[in-house]
């Protein structure tokens, strides 16, 4: 009985430790808005670098920052806005965020409900509006969007979602009438949902990426290589919908 228990514990330990192979794991904390981009970049990078396992942790940027500040062992931080590097506490380690792309907000709505003209006129009374929570980059950008377009949300039902993908799904599922998402998210929309092509420069965010581990060890080197790979792909097709960094 004891021996079986011990064998079980060893088995679990081995599974967690990756069965003792020599793969280097790089933990990349990336914003929800980068889900598709980074998933594709992960696959391509791992195909080119068989000894490296990129492990993505995808969530709202402010959640990721809190996790890092609470001691999560992230090698790479890729939030939706460079502003999130402020307030990052890493016990004295210096991080140099590298800007590589920019993004801005877009308004989406269901195609066949004729809401586009109403929303363009700023009339949102009685509608369900999905936005990111304040504090997440897309939430702060949503505040700027509402202000710069003069949208009146006083008679709308406004739901604050934890990240941009939750906003997207609320509109995709037909439960929210209007959503504020990134222009890059429009790529993954279904045909039922349309973008209004608003030009709101005030909502521009600069994306930046940074290596959090000190260079020198294998994980640090692999992390730096992945960051260089992301930056080199920034003007490629995988970043369709993003703009160049300012």
């Amino acid at each position: 009985m004891i021996r079986r228990l011990a064998a079980l514990i060893c088995l679990v330990a081995l599974t967690v430790a990756g069965c003792g192979d020599s793969t280097v794991t790089v933990d990349v904390f990336a914003a929800s808005s980068l889900t598709d981009v980074f998933t594709e970049l992960e696959q391509r990078f791992e195909a080119d670098n068989p000894g490296v396992d990129i492990r993505l942790n995808l969530a709202g940027s402010d959640t990721l920052r809190r996790q890092i500040n609470d001691g999560a062992d992230a090698h790479v931080f890729a939030p939706a806005s460079i502003d999130l590097f402020d307030g990052l506490s890493l016990d004295g380690r210096a991080v140099e965020p590298i800007p590589y792309a920019s993004n801005q907000l877009e308004i989406i709505t269901e195609r066949d409900r004729g809401l586009a003209s109403r929303v363009r006129a700023g009339d949102l009374a009685g509608l369900v509006v999905a936005r990111c929570s304040p504090g997440v980059p897309c939430g702060d950008a949503a505040d700027r969007l509402i202000e710069s377009l003069g949208l009146d949300l006083s008679d709308a039902t406004v739901t604050s979602e934890q990240n941009v993908r939750a906003v997207l799904s609320k509109v995709e599922l037909g439960e929210a009438d209007v959503g504020f998402v990134y222009r890059s998210d429009v790529n993954v929309l279904s045909d039922d949902v349309m973008a209004l092509d608003v030009e709101a420069d005030s909502t521009k965010v600069t994306l930046a990426i940074g290596v959090l581990t000190s260079a020198g060890d294998t994980a640090g080197n692999a992390a730096a290589a992945f960051v260089a790979f992301v930056i080199s792909e920034a003007d490629g097709p995988v970043f369709f919908g993003f703009d160049p960094a300012p």
């Binding site: 304040p134 504090g135 739901t159 934890q162 609320k170 439960e175 929210a176």
Partner: protein
């Protein structure tokens, strides 16, 4: 239901009774290694709570809890959890009777479906609710409106997740009730509804109450199904757990204060359960 707190057991009829303990010393022959593992289990449960208490902004606790957003969330939570508990009693008790007293084809499937929300991730329950009661869901298409982003939607999400606690508690109690009381009442000429209301129901009142309290506590803590199905609308569907999740990144002190509030309520429920249902001797 198993043990609720050390020294007392939640019986299947919903009563919490003091466990008869013969000695406070470890039972003879229990190996030290087992005790060590048990202590690890206790640490697993206790350490996070101690961390929360140490982290708590005690000096500013009341000003943090007096904040308008907090008070709004407390109000929404009170309304949603009490309504969910009431709805659970209203429809859950008849369901428990159906499961305990009536034989019908497919009963085992129905019983499984009743217990599914206990094990299903609440987020999945929330997604399922969207396809059922959302604007473009099964019922929503027929009705022409959906429940998401309404307080009713939050109540429905909480009820689906919480009601199984009540149904299982009541059904278990019904199984231990002697059916001859019902037969006797019938022989004295009482009609079915009269018997149900005046004979069957009073006999299981304690387990209905215990089940309702458990369902209420579960509804109060509900997060995943609510945020997925009912959204996070301040004053409408943003309950205390959603307020904690919204505040944790931007205002951690307030999140911790809110967590303490919820911890205090949970403890009050457990202590209340023990004190109200222990027969006074």
């Amino acid at each position: 239901m198993g043990q609720c707190s050390s020294g007392s057991i939640l019986r299947h009829d919903g009563r919490l009774v003091k466990r008869r303990t013969t000695t406070s010393r470890p039972a003879p022959g229990l190996p030290t290694s087992i005790i060590v593992i048990a202590v690890i289990a206790i640490a697993l449960l206790v350490l996070p709570l101690v961390g929360l208490l140490i982290q708590a902004p005690w000096s500013s606790l009341f000003s943090l809890l007096g904040n308008e957003a907090t008070l709004t969330a407390i109000r929404v939570s009170a309304v949603v959890s009490l309504a969910a508990a009431a709805l659970s009693i209203l429809i859950g008790v008849p369901l428990a009777f159906l499961l305990a007293r009536v034989e019908f084809p497919g009963k085992s499937i129905i019983r499984t479906i009743v217990t599914v929300p206990l094990v299903l991730p609440p987020v999945v329950t929330g997604v399922a609710l969207i396809y059922g009661f959302g604007r473009s869901g099964l019922l929503g298409k027929v009705l022409g409106f959906g429940l998401p982003f309404t307080t009713v939607g939050a109540v429905v999400a909480a009820t689906v997740v919480a009601m199984p606690f009540l149904v299982l508690s009541v059904e278990g109690a019904l199984r231990s009730v002697d059916p001859r009381f019902d037969q006797m009442a019938a022989s004295l000429g009482a009609g079915p509804l009269h018997r149900w209301w005046h004979v069957s129901l009073p006999m299981i009142r304690p387990s209905i109450l215990a089940g309702a309290v458990l369902a209420w506590a579960r509804a109060l803590g509900e997060f995943g199904a609510t945020i997925t199905f009912a959204g996070n609308v301040p004053g409408v569907t943003r309950t205390l757990p959603l307020e904690v999740s919204t505040a944790i990144n931007s205002d951690p002190d307030r999140a911790v204060a809110l967590s303490l509030l919820m911890l205090a309520v949970s403890l009050a429920v457990l202590i209340g359960l023990r004190d109200s249902w222990v027969p006074r001797r």
